[in-house]
Structures are given as structure tokens and as C-alpha cells.
Symmetry: C3
């Protein structure tokens, strides 16, 4: 008979955390250098600092509270997201600095390098949305470490082999993260997910906590999209800000409309309002360097919201039944499809600006290669990670302990509602 209690993670989680953390400290001791007199992208330190904090809020608070959605999984949702993000960012700073270390012997640390690292972290946080509730923190940390490594590799290869612009390669994070997460959840398929897990639902209060995370993501998404936009051409960053803002505003309204249309009773769906309103921001983020007119941003936001909400309504359940792919927070619909749409928008907008047909075809081929490369790499890394995670060694939670904080958190004095 299976054990009633969740397996103890003491001998897995603690050593993993301590060894990795000490390793990071050693690397930072010997191989990093702080760039003191920095000029971040033409603007100065105090001008960039608010962006730095906005991205922090997105990563630690926005995603963390978005993941408190499930009724008995709030501590895990916010706590594990926080833990994973704190580790993955440290790793990403190191990985992003390997090239600089190779040439100059030191990894540079400044506000911008931390922001870039946090964006790499977001690619892992997106994938975690697909496996949330069905994994333990040890698995989540492995996913984050391997996901971030894969994404940094992808970014570096795109920049080196295909000469993709840095910002464009970073914005592939949505595509990479969504596909990586999908492969993982497909490989970690559990029988318990056919009917939905017993505790895989929100209540009134966790729905509001999740709304809080969503609103932070929504409000700060323009900062997220524009933080790394080079300010050498004046107004470039402003363009990124208002494009994201308008796409998000349009996306919010459109999501509500489609959500009501999809419902037989004509009601809104809270989870649509929490996930799909961000689709516009994701799509514009992927095409941020080509979107110039308000018109373009708003159209992208509109289409992204329609696609995302419709896919949420129909595709999520089909993915589970047809492909045995239980996508907890529907990252395919909220990050995957909108980012593909953004990729397409980027292509079309560039083609529109091309006068020369040869140039246009060349760009299209190049752009398709970028996408295929990212897809291929994310799938490969996903399969490797999935194989690793299938080991019983990591002690995954039993089906009836899925989506339950009780398996991972001490509740010595927890109050009982009488």
C-alpha cells in the first residue's frame, strides 16, 4: 500500500539548495566584477533603477501571486516561485557572463545584467506554469536550472550563429518557456489529471490573490517590455511603452468580450481575465522592435486576446484528452500562441517595410530559422529535463497530494475554520 504521507524532501531539497548556493557564492567570489561607473544604455543609474524594480516586482510578486490561484496551493505557488526565481537569477547572471569571462576573465555585474538574468528566469517561470501543482520543489528547481541554461544557450546561439538582435533573442523567452513547459508536462503525465485533480480549483479568496498578481503583471508589463530597449534613438523606449500599454488595454477589453461569448450563460470567466489579458503584452513583447504605430500594437493586442481566450476555452481540454498534456495554467494559450502571433507580426511588419523583394525573402527565411531553432532547442532541452525528472529519486508527490500545500509546508499551528 502506498504511503499516506507525502515523502520527505529533507535529504533531497536541502543538499540541492545548499550545494548550488555555495557553488554560486564561490563563482561570484572569484569570477565577477562590478562595473562601477556604469552608464546603462545611455541613461544613468537613477533613470534605470525604476525599471529594475518593476522587473523585480514582475518576477517575484507578479508571477508569485498569479500562481496562488489554487485553493490549497497558495503557499507553494508563491513560495516556490520565489525560491526558484532567486536561484535561477543567480545562475543566469553567471551563464550570461560566460562570454565576457572567456574574453576578459570576469563576469560583469550591473543593474542591466541582473535585469537580463531576470528575463531569462521568466522563461523558466513560464514553464513552471505548465507543471504547477504536480511537481515538488526539487523538481521545480531542476526545471528552472535546466530551463534557464537551455534558454541562455538558445539566446547565445541565436545571437552568435544567426546574428539575431539581443533584445529579440531575449523575447523568445515566451516561445521557449511555453514549449519547454508543454514537453515537461506531457512527459510527466499522470492518470490523476484526466478528471482534473481534486484540489485543482480556486476559491473566492485565492482567486483574488491571483488577480493581484495579474494586475501587477499587467501594470508593469510595459516596463518589462521596454526595460532593455536601447535608448540610442530617442523615443524608442517610449514607443515600446505605449505599444505595450495599448496592446494590453485592448487585450483586456477583448478578453472580456470573448470570455462572455464563449460562456453559454453569458458569464465572465475569472481565469480568462487573469491569463488572457496579458496575451497582448506577450505578443507585442516578441515584436517590440518592429511595432511602431498605435494601430499596429492595438491590432496585435486584439488578435492575441481573441486567439488566447478562444484557445483557452477549447484547446486546453483537447490538449489533455488528445495528447495527454495537462497544461495546468494553460501556458500554451497564454504564452505560446500569443508569442507565435508576435513572431508572425514581427515578420509581417518587417516585410511591409521592405522595398526589395530579395531582402524580404532573405529576412523571412532568417526569421523562420530563428523560430525553428528556438522550437527545436526548447523541445530537446524539454525532453532531456523530462527524462531526468521521471526518476523516482526526486520523490514526486502522490496524486492525492497534488495541488496541496500540506505535502511541503509545516502547519503546526494552522487555524481551523469552525
Amino acid at each position: 500500500m502506498a504511503p499516506r504521507y507525502a515523502p520527505s524532501l529533507r535529504s533531497r531539497l536541502a543538499p540541492l539548495l545548499l550545494i548550488m548556493q555555495m557553488g554560486f557564492i564561490v563563482v561570484y567570489c572569484f569570477y565577477t566584477e562590478v562595473k562601477s561607473d556604469e552608464k546603462v544604455d545611455g541613461s544613468n543609474f537613477s533613470g534605470f533603477y525604476p525599471y529594475f524594480q518593476d522587473v523585480n516586482v514582475v518576477v517575484f510578486l507578479g508571477f508569485g501571486f498569479l500562481y496562488t490561484f489554487f485553493v490549497r496551493y497558495g503557499f507553494s505557488g508563491s513560495g516556490f516561485n520565489f525560491l526558484v526565481a532567486a536561484m535561477a537569477t543567480q545562475l543566469a547572471v553567471i551563464l550570461n557572463g560566460i562570454e565576457s569571462w572567456y574574453y576578459r576573465g570576469k563576469i560583469m555585474i550591473n543593474l542591466k545584467s541582473i535585469v537580463v538574468a531576470e528575463m531569462c528566469t521568466v522563461s523558466a517561470l513560464v514553464s513552471i506554469g505548465a507543471v504547477l501543482g504536480k511537481t515538488n520543489p526539487v523538481q521545480l528547481i531542476l526545471i528552472a536550472m535546466l530551463g534557464v541554461s537551455g534558454f541562455v544557450l538558445n539566446k547565445w546561439l541565436l545571437q552568435t550563429l544567426l546574428k539575431v538582435q539581443p533584445l529579440n533573442s531575449i523575447m523568445q523567452l515566451h516561445i521557449f518557456g511555453a514549449l519547454f513547459g508543454l514537453v515537461l508536462t506531457w512527459m510527466l503525465y499522470r492518470k490523476g489529471s484526466v478528471q482534473g485533480f481534486e484540489k485543482e480549483k480556486p476559491d473566492r479568496k485565492t482567486g483574488l490573490f491571483s488577480m493581484l498578481g495579474t494586475l501587477f503583471l499587467w501594470i508593469l508589463w510595459p516596463s518589462f517590455n521596454s526595460a532593455l530597449v536601447e535608448d540610442d534613438i530617442p523615443g524608442r523606449r517610449l514607443q515600446a511603452v505605449y505599444s505595450s500599454y495599448l496592446a494590453l488595454a485592448v487585450g483586456a477589453v477583448t478578453t472580456a468580450a470573448v470570455s462572455v461569448l464563449l460562456s453559454p450563460k453569458g458569464k465572465l470567466n475569472l481565469i480568462h481575465m487573469q491569463s488572457c489579458i496579458l496575451a497582448g503584452g506577450v505578443a507585442v513583447g516578441v515584436s517590440i522592435l518592429s511595432v511602431r504605430q498605435p494601430c499596429e500594437a492595438m491590432t496585435i493586442g486584439f488578435i492575441a486576446a481573441v486567439v488566447s481566450t478562444t484557445a483557452f476555452g477549447y484547446l486546453k481540454i483537447h490538449m489533455l484528452l488528445a495528447f495527454q498534456c495537462h497544461d495546468t495554467l494553460a501556458v500554451l494559450c497564454t504564452h505560446g500562441l500569443p508569442s507565435l502571433l508576435g513572431w508572425l507580426a514581427h515578420l509581417l511588419l518587417r516585410l511591409k517595410d521592405c522595398d526589395d523583394q530579395t531582402m524580404a525573402i532573405r529576412f523571412a527565411v532568417f526569421h523562420i530559422c530563428t523560430l525553428l531553432f528556438t522550437i527545436m532547442l526548447s523541445l530537446s532541452v524539454g525532453i532531456i529535463t523530462g527524462l531526468l525528472l521521471q526518476l523516482k529519486f526526486w520523490r514526486p508527490p502522490q496524486d492525492h497530494k497534488c495541488f496541496d500545500d500540506q505535502a511541503f509546508w509545516e502547519f503546526p499551528h494552522l487555524a481551523v475554520h469552525k
Copy 2:
């Protein structure tokens, strides 16, 4: 027998949202232009960006979570506020730009124009506080659309006819919003409100969510008041910041004191602490261009808090019984009276500075006209909107579905507390 289920909004809400959103996209496509090389008020883009984000937090998160107060109305409170704000801001950008479109053929978009639009949106969000819980989202959107249009008209007329300074005319938003909301709730009077609606109460957790919204409003109110202060005279914006800050701090302490005094058992009242602590900020906001000394700001904050809390204790129930005016979140006490007080403070402070008696009288007459004009217009627009909303066509919720998310949100998997 009346239908048990809430009427479906599918055929009302979805077309309304889609048609308006598509209309906005078309207008933005053909008639807007982004001012790229902007200098926002003498400071640069990166200096203004934090204000932009602060105002965003006030509008989308602060008001949204303040409106999660009621025990079964949290999704609606935050969700509808969000939806309405996203639409009203898009509309307000267009309406504010009509003059520029008339002369130059294009509506200018920059960070400042979005912030101005969000302030116009706040006038509608204030009025929604008066009708919250008793209306459906279709009605809320109509209120917001007509409210914002009326407010922009008022602002434009004040600036054009009476030569009121732009910032002063924007700050009328509290007066306009409160009166507009009061007229609406008076015209939409329901029998069910005599004893208070069954679900018109908070619980421990929604009280805390609401506290969160309040704290965001309180902390970011100085940004809200100072965002549009022209920085041509150095220190002007600083003055606005500390005036608001001090008035808010004094208001917080005074509200607590008056709340304890009003209670027979000597207890604090949570809703006083959530609404009336902002009264000082509202009053100083209306008189922001005249308040110069800490002393003045603190006195205004003190009086505003006393008036607001006392009115909340006595006036709210009288408004309902005597005038059949069920002011859900007491916008009369929290925005109406404090803003009238701010208007008075503005007058007195200007008169104090006038040496010449003729000038003083002229200013007083002009200032009284401004107020009367705003009152008249808000009442007129309110009556028109109220007549429109009384139509059964909009399918308002039944009395027993008031203050209940169930009427508007799908709860397919909502967890039951056992």
C-alpha cells in the same frame, strides 16, 4: 414568478465591448500620432515614467482592490474596475485630443496624455463607487463612457470659457465624479437597499484585500496629485508631493481618532480607516496649486478627515432614508465633501494672498462660477445617464443577486469550504 437565475449578458456585454473596442482601434489607426521627441513638462521621459506607473497602480490596482470590500463581490469589484478603466482610458485619450485633432489633424499620444486620460477615468471610477454592487457590467461601462465624456466636456468648457488652469480643471474630477455617482444611485434606487442588501458586508479577508487597495491609494496619492504639476518653477512638484503627504498623514491619524469617538464602544471602524484616510489627499488635490505651507496642508487634512469621518457616521444613513439615495461606498463623504472643502480652501488661500479687494472679489466670483458650472454639468449628465440606465434593456441584476459575483462570473470548479 421572477426568474431565479441572473439574466444572461451575452447579447449585451459582448457586442458592446467588441463594437466599442473596434471603434477605438479604427480611431487610433487614422487619427493619432506619437510625439516621439517629447519633453514631458521640462523633465525627460525617464523622470516622468515613475509617475506614469504610480498613476497606473492607483487606477487599476488601488481602486480595483478598494472595491473588493464586499464578501461575495471581490471578483466583480476588481474585475469590473479593471475593465472599465481600460476602456475609459482609451476613450479619454481620444476625447482629450479632439481639439488637437481639429487644429492639427492628429491626436497626440505621449505619456502625459495617457496620464491625463487616466485622471479623467478616475472621475468615472469614483462615481462607480456609489452604484457598486447594484449594477451589471454593461451599466458600469455605460456609466464610465458617459461619465468620462461629461467630465472631459466639463474640463474643456472650464478651460475654454472660464480660462481655468488645466490642472485645476482636472482636479474637479472628485466633485464631478461624486455628484455624478450620487445622481445615478438616486435614480437607480431599489427597494432592496432600505435594510441594506443581504450581502452588503465585508468579511475578515475581503476587508484586508480592500485595505491593500487603500494603502496603495494612500501611498501613491502624492504621485497622483503631483504628476501633472508643471515643473517650470523649481520645487513646485516637491511642494505638491509633501503637501499631499502631510495632509494624508494627518488625515490618517485624525480619522482614527474621530472613528473611535463616534463608536459607542470606543472601537475603530474599518471602512472609516479605508475611505476617510484619503479625504486629506482629495482636499489637497483640489487646492494643490494654492497650498504652499506644510501648515496649510496639515490643517486641510485635519478638517477633511473630521468632516469626512463624521459625515460617514451620520450622513450616509440619512441620505438613504431621507433621499432614497443608497451611496454604496459613501462617495459623498469620501470624495464629495472633501473636494468641496478643497475648493473652499483654494478660494480662501487665494483671497488671503490678494492685496487688492477688486481682484479678490473677481476671483471669488470666478471660482464660485467654476464650482456651479461643474455641479450643473455633473447633475445634467447624471440625469441623462440615469434615464438611459433605467431601461430594462440592460438587464440589471435582481435584488437578491446584488453584491454577488455569481451573477456575472463562472464558478465551474469553485472550491467549497467544508
Copy 3:
């Protein structure tokens, strides 16, 4: 027989608040001046404003929501923190300005003076963590007033007598606050605390509210530590930011590891994740002027988290049983010990840089004197405050009303969960 109802605070709280608030207004009227053309630390107004807002969020929202931890004490936790902070900041601005008033006749107000005042307030908020739940708001206000006065006195004496740098003297706030709070809770010992109070526990939702406060503190701690760092040496503030950031990130990971190790079942403890993850930030804050390398910051963060979490696991209960010191939120473990560690790190890092042995010894003696002085003063002020608070005149809540909002807040319409 003891009264069943909590004693009314009407005749205590309201006069106290009103008299103090009016006193503040009078002082501000006659003795303050706004420095209009300020240059805050070499950077300008708009560069400093985001720091100002970040510190506001830390003080009013971060601590406030951290204190919503207990199941029936959420309104009090956030509400009293807010009330106390609003009063203490007003007082601290006055007290910090006494010297300026003595020489120039006016107390200067600008953004920086408010930020300094809020940091003094934090010393009082830390001490409140030790007595939370067992005191009434009148007592909390007295604690805050006397605590802030004591801390400002300590700061001034350190700066004047020992020539400690201003920032270093301010950062003693953690040591001062923790010890002051410990003395108070020891002097206010209650029999009811032996078994833990009936309601001294979180539930799932208050745990999440508290997590929200923690995340805000964690994210904005770098702003808190760096806000007052003089920017005369370029990159100095950047150094403070990334040192705090890295220490916090390392602290978060380490806390999780130690928390799992301490648990027999290998589970995480929520309250560790909420308190001890900040230990790294506290320790680096105290030694902010000496920490230069990422390596140093990370090591401090690592040790602080290990010490803090271990102490939380073992020391807290011993403090209660052996010394009758019921430290509600374990401020000894979360602020006391990490700040002592920071003090030690400051000493060691300075000694490491000293070439001359005489200089080294002189600095060590000076640094030890600083600590002893702070400890002595915090204990003295704590004993005086404790004696004052023991008076029955203040009507402390009965044991069975501890950790209960019902004693202080009106619940006229509070919804009952059926």
C-alpha cells in the same frame, strides 16, 4: 468576575491621537520650512522620488501586511502599523530637525528628511513586532513615540559624541528596535503566553497576506538600504543596491534549505520563509558602507540566513520558557541577530582594510563602543517605556482577547461563513 467585553478605548485613544496630532500641526506651522530648490544628495528631485516611494511602500505596506499573519488579527496588524507609522514619521521629522531648529530657527522639510524620518519609524515598527497582539493601540502608539524618541536620541548622540557617520547611525535601527522590543515584551509578560495564545496562529489566507508584505519588503529592501547612500562617489549607490540584492537572494535560498533541515518531516516552514529571508538584507544594511564585493555580500547573506533560521527554530521557544520573553514575531531572530552579524561584518571588513595596527585597534574600540552605547540606550528606554506601559490606566486587552480584532474593531455587518 472579569468583564467579558474588551475595555473601551474611547477615552484613551481619541484624546491621545487628537492632542498629539494638533501638537504636531502647531509645531509644523511655526517651526518648519520647505527647502524648495533642493538637490538631494547630488541627484535631483525626480531621481530621488522613486526611492521615496519605495521606502513608503516598505514602511506602510510591507510591514503592515507582514503583520497580518495571525488569523484573527489582520485588521489590527495592518491598521495599527499604518496608524503608528503615520504618527511616528511626523514626530521623527520634528525630532531630527531639532538641531537645525536650534541653529537656524527652522526645521527643514524635504524628501530626504521624510525618508530619514521613516527609517527612524522602522526602528519602532520592528519593536512592535515583539509585542504584537498583546497590546492595545494606545500602548502601541506610546511605544512608537518613545521608541522613535529614544532612537533619534541614540542617533544624535552617536553622531555627536562618537562621530559615527549618519548612515551608520541610522542603520543601528535594527539593533535598537529589536532590543527595545525584547525588553518591552519581557516587561509585559503574560501568563497566557506560556502555551501560546489561543489565536496566535495563521490560516491559509492570512499566511498569503503576510507573504505579500514579505515580498514587498524583500523586493524593496535594496531601495531601503541604498536610499540614503551618498552618491558623491559614483557607483556607491549601485554597490549598495546589488550588495543588498545578492544578500537577499542568497538569504532566500539558504533559509529554505535550513528550514527543511530543521523540520523532522522535511517540510518548509512558512514563517521562516517570511521572516528569515530578510535577514541577509538586514545584515548587509548594517554594514552597507563597508561591503564592496559581491562575494562579501553573499557570504553575509548566507551566514545571516543560517543564524536567523536556526535561531528561529530553537531560540524562540527557549526565550519564552527560560526568560519569560514572548517574542511574537521573533524580532530577536529576524532583526536582532542579523544586525549584530552585520555589525561584526562591518568591523571585520574594516579591519581587513586597515594596514596600520594602531588604527585597527582604535577602530575596533570605537566600533564596540558604538554597539554598547546603542544597546545601553535601547535597554534604558525600553525599561522606562515598559514601566509606563504596565500601568492599568492604558487598559490592555485581556488574555482571551489577545490576537483578536474583535477587541478593537467594529464588526457591525461582518459576514459569517456558513
